[in-house]
């Protein structure tokens, strides 16, 4: 299991981008410069950079250089867009409140995804949150996290009001993938009230299953969105 020279170079640059030594918009050293520093030929440097382009760390411009450009991450997952944003790009103010304190509960019966025995036994941490964009309530989100090796989750608040940030910082857990099933449904009266719309108004209903860096840990969400004023945006690649 050798480490190749292009991997060394690639890892060095990746580290420098992730630790902020190179920042978004910065130019990397030129290919010739990197050849000299690492004492390799240009095709080795180019192979390393090709990988970084592919992984979305940089883009290259002929005649200009290699530019640090951290790809808009997989979080097209949860971004909102006002109608006007389709043209412009002004920022939205996003806020999340917890409708109840996180608690540990048994899984609901007939859960929307089949669960394995370990998940069923351990119960789930349940979050009940409402998200606002520009002070309009737009998303009601119920989240269930299998209570597996997440000691102390209920002991403190969410870091930055964010579940994913909390999982990253307290448990070194990354969300690696998302599967979602999307429908349009009529609002039931309760949900309509919370999302500030009328009963039977069309709402987006999304079931989400997040895969994480811990293979056996999936996170489940069910969310209702009022898309009257805002789109939900997804970007793949």
């Amino acid at each position: 299991m050798d480490i190749h020279q292009y991997q060394v170079l690639q890892n060095d640059i990746k580290r420098d981008i992730l630790t902020g030594i190179f920042r978004e918009g910065d130019l990397l050293p030129s290919e010739n410069e990197l050849c000299a520093r690492y004492n390799v030929t240009r095709s080795t440097v180019r192979k390393a950079l090709d990988g970084l382009v592919n992984d979305g760390y940089i883009i290259k411009k002929q005649g200009k250089g290699s530019i640090v450009y951290i790809k808009r991450n997989s979080l097209g997952l949860l971004s909102f867009k006002g109608f006007s944003d389709v043209l412009g790009d002004d920022k939205r103010k996003i806020r999340t409140i917890q409708l109840q304190e996180p608690i540990i509960i048994k899984w609901p019966k007939n859960y929307f995804y089949p669960l394995n025995d370990q998940e069923l036994e351990s119960g789930s941490i349940f979050l009940n949150r409402l998200r606002f964009v520009d002070d309009n309530p737009v998303m009601l989100e119920h989240t269930w996290i299998p209570n597996i090796a997440l000691e102390g989750f209920l002991d403190g608040p969410l870091v930055n009001d964010s579940l994913f940030t909390t999982l990253r910082q307290k448990y070194q857990l990354e969300v690696t993938n998302v599967f979602q099933d999307i429908r349009a449904v009529p609002a039931d009266p309760n949900v309509a009230g919370m999302l500030n719309t009328y009963p039977s108004a069309p709402l987006l209903h999304v079931y989400r299953r997040y895969a994480t860096s811990r293979k056996e840990l999936m996170i489940y969400s069910s969310l209702y969105c009022n898309t009257d004023k805002y789109f939900i945006s997804n970007e793949f690649d």
Copy 2:
């Protein structure tokens, strides 16, 4: 606008795969063999093959060769799922009909995405299609394709009833990315009729922008989905 040697090689192989000269599981000629045939060096051949790996046409095995392997389609862009499928995995029968013959039209005023001058000048090829799952009409899709270097598009039918297959086979165009904006809207009476539901029923409305391997060519769609019986599924990674 030169054509590079690696592109020639790439296109030749792509064509031979798409037309069935090379079939799934076949071994391509070895890199050295291709060097000899095309009178280029190995790094040119490898650059060509790297592209084919990236586009999902082949996989490579050290010591073995390059194997034709057409990647399972670009994921959940357009997959449906019945409620029962959340558990099982029985196949749905999918059918698409064209509500009108493809035509070349001017772009609608106030188009939902801003267009550049070249797109505006060239007009667009317009498709108006209705998709069925298990004989239920579930998706009404309007597609606009800038009429740029797509000679003969209207001359024949879609290959396999599929726009993407047509673009791939006739123009070597790959869809590389999708951006979508999703809302829930009440059905207007016309659309409701076509999707076999009632006026003001909640429908999914999706604006899609597809990026392709030809950088300046984007494809635009607006689609309405009746998600009464079927989900829309997305999978990222």
